[in-house]
């Protein structure tokens, strides 16, 4: 979290809306542990990361949608035979993210 504070502070000063994504659970091999975080502002600019670059693009889309709707939700990315997950982790693990507006 610490590494994204500087960007968040700057965006807050500019009155940008911000969404925060946090890794809350990892199953199998995942590159980042629970607590890894990434912030996305309304312009789609990012700070931090939640994987090794595998899912960050999809997180931006989710975050921008959340900034529109104000919804808070758990989003899961990982490998699956039924192709339920459009975006996967190449390392074969599953990560669960909690994404919400930074309105607290």
């Amino acid at each position: 979290m610490k590494e994204i504070f500087a960007d968040i502070e700057k965006w807050k000063k500019d009155n940008k809306k911000i969404a925060l994504a946090r890794v809350v659970k990892v199953e199998g091999s995942g590159p980042r542990d629970p607590g890894a975080s990434m912030a996305v502002n309304e312009n789609g600019e990012i700070a931090g990361s939640v994987s090794g670059g595998c899912v960050e693009g999809a997180v931006v889309s989710e975050a921008l949608e959340i900034l529109q709707t104000g919804e808070r939700k758990i989003v899961t990315f990982g490998y699956s035979d039924d192709e339920a997950y459009a975006v996967g982790l190449t390392c074969g693990g599953i990560i669960h993210l909690y994404i919400e507006p930074l309105d607290w």
């Binding site: 979290m1 610490k2 607590g35 693990g93 607290w104």
Partner: protein, 269 residues
């Protein structure tokens, strides 16, 4: 005066290096509600009701002490064995400490690598002419004092995430540094020196009353067998050993090993 938001309070505590835990309802009633627990036991925010706050506070306290983060499930009033509310508890522990005894050439390189890894680094040498902030600009603290004196002051604050590296290779300084470090809960004690220095030092440590169990804690000669030559390469070999000791791995090549690359670590840093 407006009370700081949960986020600002969290940011300030992390900035100050104060341990703090954040609980967030991520699924179930009151999704998005938050509770902060400070190291002095004070709280900010609420997860919805006092009963739930009380139960979760207990778990937050445990997670914070272990430096761990994860999801736990409760009933809406904190009932155990119910799963209607999912709460993500996140620990923000201050950075681990590295104490380096001996302000030698290898020290500057080790300070740089340790800073990359996020350590709070203290360099200590009894010889005031070597222990200067100018020689170690990246160190957080530089102390010109005897190692046992420094450990008398900070020893009680050392835990399993913290490390002590003794680089002086002079028994006069090494022996008090090692015997004092052994009295702490520090997770790693590494000591530099050639095989010959190591053997001679081992004799001196035995004379000083170091037991066989205590010798198991001392990584000497310090570092992994990488064939490191320069101070920078040696610093990498030391830090690699610290990581491998924490995770309980043998540090072979990944190419030669099986199993997941990102396995659970035995101790959270």
């Amino acid at each position: 005066m407006m009370k700081d938001s949960i986020f600002e309070t969290l940011r300030e505590a992390i900035h100050q290096g104060d341990p703090i835990a954040l609980a967030t309802v991520i699924d179930g009633e009151g999704r998005g509600s938050k509770l902060l627990l400070h190291s002095d036991g004070s709280k900010s925010g609420t997860l919805g009701n006092d009963a739930l706050d009380r139960v979760v506070t207990r778990d937050m306290s445990g997670e914070l002490a272990a430096g761990q983060s994860g999801i736990r499930h409760y009933g809406v009033n904190g009932e155990a064995r119910e799963e209607s509310v999912s709460i993500f508890i996140e620990s923000f522990a201050p950075p681990p400490q590295m104490l380096i005894f001996g302000a030698v050439d290898f020290t500057a390189a080790l300070v740089r690598v340790a800073k990359v890894l996020g350590y709070h680094v203290t360099v200590c040498d009894a010889r005031a002419v070597f222990a200067t902030a100018e020689r170690f600009p990246q160190a957080d603290v530089v102390e010109a004092m005897w190692p046992d004196k420094l450990l008398e002051t900070v020893g009680a604050s050392l835990g399993v995430r913290d490390v002590v590296c003794v680089l002086t290779h002079d028994n006069k300084f090494d022996v008090p540094a090692i015997t004092s470090a052994l009295k702490t809960e520090v997770g790693y004690i590494g000591v530099m020196g050639s095989r010959k220095t190591h053997e001679n030092r081992t004799l001196r440590l035995r004379e000083a009353g170091v037991t066989e169990d205590e010798f198991q804690r001392i990584m000497s000669p310090i570092g992994l067998d990488l064939g490191a030559r320069t101070p920078e390469e040696t610093a990498i070999s030391i830090c690699a050993e610290i990581i491998a000791l924490r995770t309980g791995r043998n540090a072979p090549n990944l190419k030669e090993a099986d199993g997941p690359i990102h396995g659970p670590s035995s101790k959270s840093i």
